[in-house]
Symmetry: C2
Subunit: 343 residues, 2 copies
Amino acid sequence: MRYANNPILTPRDLAPSQESMKIECLLNPGVFRFDGKTWLLIRVAERPEQREGEISFPLLDDANRITVMRVPSSSPELDLSDPRVISYKGSDYLTTMSHLRLMSSTDGVRFAEEPGYGPIFGSDAYESYGIEDCRVTLLEGTYYLTYTAVSANGVAVRMRSTTDWKRFTDYGLVLPPHNKDCTLFDERIGDLYYMLHRPSSPEIGGNYIWIAESRDLRHWGNHRCVARTRKGMWDSARIGAGCAPIRTGEGWLMIYHGADGDNRYCLGAMLLDAADPSKVLARSDRPIMEPSAPYELTGFFGNVIFTNGHIVEGDRIVMYYGASDEVICRADLSVREILESLK
Amino acid sequence: MRYANNPILTPRDLAPSQESMKIECLLNPGVFRFDGKTWLLIRVAERPEQREGEISFPLLDDANRITVMRVPSSSPELDLSDPRVISYKGSDYLTTMSHLRLMSSTDGVRFAEEPGYGPIFGSDAYESYGIEDCRVTLLEGTYYLTYTAVSANGVAVRMRSTTDWKRFTDYGLVLPPHNKDCTLFDERIGDLYYMLHRPSSPEIGGNYIWIAESRDLRHWGNHRCVARTRKGMWDSARIGAGCAPIRTGEGWLMIYHGADGDNRYCLGAMLLDAADPSKVLARSDRPIMEPSAPYELTGFFGNVIFTNGHIVEGDRIVMYYGASDEVICRADLSVREILESLK
């Protein structure tokens, strides 16, 4: 059930990270409980203010500060043929740069920034185009952040951990390009840690959900494909895991996003085997949630709902999600109802 | 210096794995010393005999046996618009399937199969389109095979190990798609094992050489980009490591392949820092070897030389390589001369 006063956060609710930037979108928050409150780790996508006759785009400089590159629109070294990227002097840059912003709430719907917490910016050459779509997993008393690190080297998965949300331990890139939508399971299964991830292939293969295992959370192996896209269905073009799967009596319940060839993003569920989470026991034939509210149908990129964060309270899943790649919303789901829908 | 009687092996020198198949190409051998001899682990690409009015392609059946799919050329579910793959009922298949064949030699130029050794076929659903371009690294007394595993799940890196070339230990996929050109270093550096690998990205990023580290050879992390392609140069489109880098007094000498936009494959070298092999100290401005002999200029796919195997004897590198994706050749190089060329 969608929260009646959705969206709960829009770009106007936050100040940009610096004066020369404008917040274009709030996206896809990681979600966790900390210090008695509900927290969102929101992806904030900013774009430099555009000036007449110039194309400008953001990147990290050598000192890892966000800077704005300004190029005359008439530059012959500029190539704007691909709308997702700005190609300049043979390198590709993103039109926006994302960082992560922490906001907390006592009621789960009114969120505010707290002094001393965040923001979290890209930190080096593997994050020079920004960091995106962070999952947060509380595992054995430590919070693990798995997020998409974007740079000219590619799109890869990086991990950091924290216990106080002020000091972070860096694990480097735990998965090489091209990979995103990575979440850790929130407990070990047997002796091993597990993660779900979503590699992409330029040929043979696709945008499928994979699983990997680890003994130390730093090094990962035994990669196996969990689920593929399904031709002619709502999840025909790409799929990716949400946040940590929910342990139920019937197995691991995983909420995932699926997109079709029209880039319409819906949410579905899979039930993974309790002892071997590489095995899919059941999967949504139809979405458990699809874009229908006005703020989900229209926006920066309409027809998109995307989640990578929730809190579980008994049967209730308090889910936060990005709508139309522009605003943050909340919906409450029922574990039992989702499991029923998988039968 | 090329061996005068190149090529040393051609498709006619081996029998196909079964009657319905024809060997199209011999490619890119892994190379090692074992039992007092030099051994090649050759990639053999086979294609089903084609019949009038049919398109046929190979794949592993559910029992992991190579079978031939035959489809009427007129089938509306057949899509041949991409020459690399056969698309049928929405899935992509390769026109050929590769397996690995072992051959040994006492003089390094006349190779023969030995009863009881090989061939090595794809073994499960991650290898249903074949296995390719195997590097062999002798590390702490065990041979490690790192090769490209191809299936509808994608193109990934799998590892097996052996001490006797008859019994093998499977490590599963050590890297998820899209990845190939993976080689282990042949010793630990500090406490860690290292591998070079080559992920590919469908957007942002490219076909670059990366490095990863491990404590147990099964689980890999701390992925870092070692080298990118270079615009306007011989290695502008894709690069990939050969076999295990050679330890020299000046650092790790790595032979690699580079291709340009015309798919012309040459060989070059990089010198990597002895203590931190993610650092490139020097790199070939011009190739150390480029297609020039007739068998390198013309063949199944002309203008290609590609190596992933050699033996080092003092200053001499006895290198084996695939030429024109069709025949196996030998060339002897000098460590000292390559190092000189990097200055």
